[in-house]
């Protein structure tokens, strides 16, 4: 990558971060190009779709979310064995708490600066949604094995509840709504 191209790329991402924060994820791409002082063609060369630009802007945050999921999944108290299928033991409680904690982090991300848009639409090459889904799967599976959540819950349920709440609820109510929704997901 040539030096001027690299500079343009970085400058576009930095500008887009500001513009998305101001105007939301539907912000005008021409406006981004204008403020980054490049032609619209240059923006489209680097980021052929809006998704691609959103992903570039939110990449770090998504990395952090994946890392958090990995940490939480690696904690002790994972499996509870067959005898603990009803989730009465401490392992079930910890698995449920880990899932709750991660859901809260995902909700916070989705609510901040339109992080949701970057996270959801699938995108060849990076595919945030798939990565987050994989990270979350470990947590959900562990909770299922420990009997901490309803047996008919799947990973996508978690995503759809969290993203739905992020889209509709005012910021102050979102946590409360998540606690309601998780109340139906968790057991006991």
């Amino acid at each position: 990558m040539r030096a001027d191209a690299r500079r343009n790329y970085d400058h576009i991402v930095a500008t887009a971060r500001v513009v998305f924060a101001e105007d939301g994820p539907e912000a005008s791409l021409n406006e981004v190009a204008r403020r980054a002082q490049v032609g619209p063609g240059t923006l489209y060369r680097h980021f052929p779709t809006r998704q691609a630009l959103l992903v570039a802007v939110f990449r770090e945050r998504i990395d952090r979310l994946c890392a958090l999921a990995d940490e939480l999944a690696a904690e002790p108290g994972g499996d509870g064995g067959a005898g603990e299928a009803m989730g009465a033991g401490g392992a079930g409680r910890e698995a449920g708490e880990a899932l709750t904690a991660w859901s809260q982090a995902l909700l916070l991300h989705a609510q901040t600066d339109g992080g949701l848009s970057a996270t959801m639409g699938d995108d060849p090459g990076f595919d945030c949604h798939t990565r987050l889904r994989a990270a979350a799967t470990a947590l959900v599976d562990r909770a299922l094995r420990a009997g901490a959540i309803r047996a008919d819950v799947v990973v996508d349920d978690l995503f759809q509840l969290v993203t739905g709440i992020a889209m509709t609820a005012p910021k102050e109510r979102a946590e409360h709504l998540l606690s309601l929704a998780l109340g139906g997901v968790l057991r006991g």
Copy 2:
């Protein structure tokens, strides 16, 4: 209202119903005007905002939802008295079932032809959201008095959960998600 104006009005609504069903609630208003064979100015004269047009298209459906809420709220088994605050009695169960049934109807409406958009944004003069909210309040209050739902639940929680699910979940999964979410709302 002059005869030709009335005819234009009706024709615009009928055309919009088709176009919204085809292209979703973000469909081009110029396209609606074109297909209704009126100038864009005529459309804007009758419907100063997109909301106003959406409301006109979905008015009947919203009326039906309000009527359903009224019926369900008028059913027997409403209050359980102070002694039944833990929701153990049949009245609590019925109040919970009524709330569940109405939530399912609201979900169905929100999922069909972008009914959500018409329902939500507030709109002086008709204000679907306010009307639906009032209708739902009776059901939620009754459920609260009967102890059928968590004490910290408010009407808006119900709306935000249902609309969030309608926005994010694929049609086939929506009912399952609603059952999860209501599992956290309901008691027992």
